[in-house]
């Protein structure tokens, strides 16, 4: 089935066609031989006894990107780093389906719990199921600074820790919201930054209540050895909030070296404003930042050779052909393309240049992380992916 036939296809056919398209494109673009593709076998056993404790870095795009602008042939120009630099080193899941609510906070929370969370996307609430950070810290007896989240500020202040009674308080990850830090670092009375610091592209005029285990500026200063002046000065040299997030993440890696680091990028979601050029610009920036994060992993002694990185959008965006939507602008229709996305995994022991096109679910991430790092996500509903875990 060709992508042009999607309008009349079933949901499963659409997802399969998308996976096929990505697979064919990657094979052509990256020059990987057919023989190395489409294999389905457990990953190569690692000599774990000789390895240091593993770490994981998860990068999500809170603002899905469609095939047309990424892994379809015409989107190739927007993701040169993902295609040419990262894919050849990765196992690529070409059909990752999100069956939950397509709102960024609740969807990212679902990624982090392994359960399709059902709370109001715009509510300032914690996930109801234990997060990956709680499983990681409780099962492995890790200190608080060993799990961190760097996220946009649209409600993500509570994503580090659930309200589950068996986990919850004190067991989660610290959360850094760089845009809020930036706002608090500005001199009193400074105005004109509303557009930059707004909290959500999905509901641009919504300002969520902030309460949770979000890190404040003073704590950050101690943690990252970063003065308010240095932070503000560096922010002035960066073009976007996602660049600021990656700057903070790199600083965390250098100064704290958490074993579990979760970074949610959000620039792509400018698509909700309806400006196609800005949406594509967000994709290109995310592509560049993913490469930057991977380079940091490879160059930081605490991370090099022991870190698995996952890259995945939280979900897709509406297709051009669904009359209920407006193409790239939103993710409201729940059509198959808005639910179908991809995931890239790379690191030690991960097979390189492999495309897995069987359908998997976005909630499979947490069990996979559990298998890789050695904790039991007992309430997660997804399944560990045998191709990498």
């Amino acid at each position: 089935m060709q992508l042009r036939d999607l309008k009349t296809a079933s949901r499963g056919e659409v997802s399969a066609a998308v996976a096929h398209s990505r697979r064919e494109f990657l094979r052509a673009a990256a020059g990987v031989s057919a023989g190395s593709l489409f294999s389905f076998a457990p990953r190569v056993l690692r000599a774990s006894a000789l390895r240091p404790e593993p770490k994981a870095v998860v990068v999500t795009f809170g603002g899905g990107a469609r095939d047309e602008e990424t892994f379809a042939p015409e989107g190739q120009e927007n993701i040169p780093n993902l295609v040419q630099m990262l894919f050849p080193q990765s196992t690529f899941f070409a059909q990752v389906v999100n069956k939950g609510i397509l709102g960024h906070y609740v969807a990212t929370a679902s990624l982090a719990t392994g359960v399709y969370e059902t709370f109001n996307n715009f509510a300032a609430v914690s996930p109801h199921n234990p997060t990956v950070f709680e499983y990681f810290r409780k099962d492995l007896h890790r200190r608080a600074n060993d799990a961190w989240v760097v996220a946009p500020s649209n409600g993500f202040n509570r994503i580090g820790e659930s309200d589950h009674r068996a986990y919850g308080a004190g067991l989660g990850a610290g959360v850094i919201l760089p845009k809020h830090l930036l706002a608090s670092s500005m001199s009193a009375g400074a105005t004109g930054y509303d557009h930059l610091l707004r909290d959500s592209y999905e509901a641009p005029f919504y300002t969520p209540e902030l309460a949770g285990n979000e890190v404040e500026m003073q704590k950050l200063k101690d943690l990252l050895k970063l003065s308010v002046d240095d932070f503000s000065a560096h922010a002035r040299s960066l073009a976007s909030p996602d660049e600021l997030s990656v700057y903070i993440a790199r600083r965390l890696m250098r100064e704290v070296a958490p074993s579990m680091l979760w970074i949610t990028l959000h620039d792509i979601d400018i698509a909700h404003s309806g400006t196609y050029s800005m949406y594509v610009e967000g994709i290109r920036r995310s592509d560049r930042l993913c490469a930057e994060i991977w380079k940091a992993i490879e160059s930081e002694p605490e991370y090099a050779g022991r870190t698995t990185m996952f890259i995945l959008p939280d979900f897709g965006r509406d297709s051009d052909t669904d009359p209920g939507g407006n193409g790239f602008q939103h993710h409201r229709t729940g059509d198959p393309l808005s639910r179908t996305t991809w995931m890239m995994a790379l690191g030690p022991g991960i097979r390189k240049g492999v495309v897995i096109d069987r359908p998997v679910e976005s909630i499979d991430l947490v069990p996979t992380l559990g298998s890789l790092l050695g904790f039991q996500p007992r309430f997660a509903q997804g399944k560990a992916l045998p191709e990498i875990a």
Binding site: F122, H195, Y206, S232, M278, G327, F328, H330
Partner: protein, 405 residues
């Protein structure tokens, strides 16, 4: 308050509806009482706005109600079967779906997502739409539709590959002479409107300041709505600054705004267009801020709702989005424009306008043209033109307008 069910509807239930909408509902009361609660508010959302809907929308609602009324109980149950399998929460069911169907639909949407019933709802809606469309084939227009999109105002030169998505559909002309191109296109639209006068049948949408085109063409412009946009943004800002805002509060606010509240005329003759223009600003995302988004969404909504025979959309440069470093350095200016980014926005919007035109009756006979303003590139799509062809032969816009049908 206990939940009201459709069977409890009476003529008085619609006493707050505008006159024509009220009359419509009372006339179809027996039918409305029989419909599933999940579907009924979707129809009432149209009925409560009936007095300000376009002729095409009124006709569709009339036909839809007549279709449902004409089915036997068994047939209706079969057509609407998918809706009967969906469940509602008590809280949503208690919502005032008669007087505020839009609020009910917002709550229903949230509920369907949270309970993983959205796919079921989509399937039910698609099955119903398919059955209704099979029984009511779209009416053919007496004239072929024409869509025109003008992109690139203010761009002197670009290496952006224009019309990539549209080129496979028609002929890409690369040597078009159009010394007075905009005037040519406006005259073409005006002539069609004069030859085939239709209420809301011919549209001109401008992302900047509208050119003169005559009263027979419905005209909407971003610049013309500047006072309304400002008034609306001030209202929204007021709610935000009150500290009690959330998305729901803002949506409720926007649903309650009336044209006269933001300075749009509300007299009988202007009411339909004023309500449409207001909806562009209250229901569109980004339309209040970016002119390219406004023009694209206005064209989409005009095509979807009014189903016009002619649409001319002209894009203008939108304001530039300042990067973070410029904002922080205080060097930003809210009036700075981004012609090159706007060209890319408009290029995609041209494709979307074509897609939306193709969703209407007579798509196989429809004509479409997009022009890079003040340049010599045109993509032309029509029943007599080949697909995926490039023509480097000299041509004029006037010639292409004749070849296109």
């Amino acid at each position: 308050m206990s939940a009201m069910v459709p069977a409890q509807l009476t003529p008085e239930s619609f006493h707050r509806y505008p006159p024509q909408g009220q009359k419509l509902c009372v006339e179809h009361l027996d039918l409305l009482r029989e419909l599933p609660l999940i579907l009924l508010p979707l129809l009432l959302r149209e009925a409560i706005e009936y007095d300000w809907r376009f002729p095409a929308e009124r006709s569709e609602l009339d036909l839809q109600l007549a279709y449902l009324a004409g089915l036997s109980n068994t047939q209706r149950e079969s057509v609407l079967d998918g809706f009967s399998h969906l469940t509602l929460s008590a809280e949503v069911a208690k919502s005032n779906w008669i007087e505020t169907p839009s609020v009910f639909i917002e709550q229903l949407t949230t509920h369907l997502w949270a309970t993983q019933q959205m796919d079921g709802f989509r399937a039910a809606a698609q099955a119903y739409a398919a059955a209704w469309q099979a029984a009511n084939p779209q009416q053919q227009l007496e004239m072929q539709r024409l869509g025109i999109v003008v992109v690139g105002q203010g761009v002197a030169a670009t290496d952006y590959p224009l019309f990539r998505k549209l080129r496979p559909k028609g002929v890409f002309f690369t040597r078009v002479s159009a010394p007075d191109g905009l005037r040519t296109l406006l005259a073409s639209v005006s002539a069609r409107a004069s030859a085939h006068p239709l209420p809301f049948g011919h549209w001109y949408i401008d992302g900047g300041v509208a050119e003169s085109i005559g009263s027979s063409v419905t005209t909407v412009s971003y610049a013309g709505l500047e006072p309304a946009r400002t008034a609306l943004l001030n209202r929204m800002q007021g709610v935000i600054e009150s500290g009690s805002s959330g998305p729901e509060a803002l949506r409720t606010l926007l649903a309650q705004v009336k044209p006269q509240d933001v300075g749009l005329p509300s007299d009988t003759d202007a009411a339909v267009l004023s309500h449409f223009q207001l909806s562009l600003l209250t229901e569109g995302s980004g339309t209040q801020i970016f002119s390219t988004t406004f023009a694209q969404w206005a064209a989409r909504e005009a095509l979807r709702r009014a189903q016009p025979a002619t649409v001319l959309v002209r894009f203008a440069p939108r304001q530039r989005q300042q990067p973070m470093n410029e904002l922080l350095s205080g060097k930003h200016s809210s009036n700075e424009l981004d012609p090159e980014g706007s060209l890319i926005d408009a290029d995609m919007a041209a494709y979307y306008t074509w897609l939306n035109q193709q969703r209407l009756a007579g798509a196989d006979q429809a004509a479409f043209l997009a022009w890079f303003e003040d340049h010599n590139q045109v993509i032309a799509i029509g029943p007599s033109l080949p697909h995926g062809t490039v023509s480097s032969a000299p041509a004029t816009l006037e010639q292409i307008l004749t070849w296109i049908f």
